[in-house]
């Protein structure tokens, strides 16, 4: 199925969870925030929430920044 991750199209297997996706992307779950279709997920939901066709996922973290670049 096709989903969007951080604004880019991506192919994913049906029923893949957020936790699966983070593992695939080699991203540590403990320092990111995740939104699916603008809903912010609780960390505990990462391995429960399965993704569906057309879902828009945002994976957010902190970067160096004291001002807008």
């Amino acid at each position: 199925m096709q989903i969007q991750v951080n604004g880019e199209g991506r192919t994913a297997s049906a029923g893949v969870t957020i936790a699966d996706l983070l593992r695939e992307l080699d991203i540590r779950p403990d320092r990111v925030a995740v939104e699916v279709n603008t809903e912010i997920l609780d960390r505990q939901e990462f391995d429960r929430r399965g993704l569906r066709e057309g879902d828009r996922v945002e994976i957010i973290s902190f970067i160096g920044g004291g001002r807008k670049n």
Binding site: E8, R31, S61
Partner: protein, 268 residues
């Protein structure tokens, strides 16, 4: 050390910065943007002696996945990570970014920025107040980046912000304190900590802010953009400490005419 300077050191050690029940060791807060790399960022922060660092909230770069993460260099247990809503021009965006920042599980502090203009990066104070109200209700510890208007500063405190962060000058402008009179009014009118944020250019600007009575100073470009950021970070550390000590020491008044330091008695 003499007994008097021992006492002075103890007084300074008791001169704690406390915001929303949290104690901070350093009155110099620094941003983490515009450095060469994470190594330089950490060196500068440590040279500054800072324990509060601001970070921006952005998408993880999933196409270019270097293993490095800012928090690998800045341990959230050793530094207070203060996420900001940099780049947000609407209330909706600021709320979204603040909520995402908290969901990352590192902090419920947020430096709230709702920007009103691209060229000056001045805050949209109406939007700022609206967003601050909502975030305070949601349990955030909201530190708002505001302008030098005492009325706005008071409003922000009234709605529950435990500190205010008035700008000295536009972000990155290096102009220093543009309106010392308004800043002094804010310092008199507002009963919570005041952290001067944005526009600091060099050490004397930071010292001046502290001499006026500011509780802390936040800067990013002044350090990261200096020719030698590590040296400037160290300069800022001394400047903030000197300004604070001078403020607490109680300066002499300004006089138009001289007052001789030596007595006339005993003159030939």
């Amino acid at each position: 050390m003499s007994q008097r300077s021992n006492e002075r050191v103890r007084t300074m050690q008791n001169d704690r910065l406390i915001i929303a029940g949290r104690e901070f060791k350093s009155r110099l807060w620094v941003g983490t943007g515009k450095y060469k790399d994470f190594v330089e960022t950490k060196k500068a922060i440590d040279a500054a002696g800072a324990d509060v660092v601001t970070v921006a909230v952005r998408r993880v770069n999933i196409t270019d996945r270097s293993k490095e993460n800012l928090l690998d260099y800045l341990d959230p247990k050793k530094y207070t990570i203060l996420p900001n809503t940099a780049g947000c021009y609407t209330v909706e965006d600021a709320l979204r970014y603040a909520r995402l920042a908290r969901a990352a599980g590192v902090s419920d502090l947020v430096k709230l920025e709702v920007i009103g203009d691209e060229r000056t990066l001045f805050p949209d104070t109406a939007g700022l107040i609206e967003a601050a109200k909502i975030l305070v209700k949601e349990g955030f510890i909201v530190l708002p980046y505001t302008n030098d208007d005492p009325v706005v500063a008071k409003k922000l405190v009234d709605i529950g912000c435990p500190a205010v962060m008035p700008l000295a000058a536009p972000i990155g402008s290096g102009l220093g304190i543009r309106n010392p009179y308004n800043l002094k009014i804010i310092l008199e009118m507002v009963k919570v900590p005041v952290i001067v944020d944005a526009g600091v250019g060099t050490a004397s600007d930071a010292a001046l802010a502290m001499e006026y009575g500011a509780d802390a100073v936040l800067m990013n470009t002044a350090i990261a953009g200096a020719r030698d950021p590590i040296a400037m970070a160290e300069a800022m550390k001394y400047a903030v400490a000197a300004g604070r000590l001078a403020y607490k020491a109680g300066r002499i008044p300004r006089k138009l005419y001289a007052t001789a330091s030596s007595p006339i008695e005993g003159m030939l």
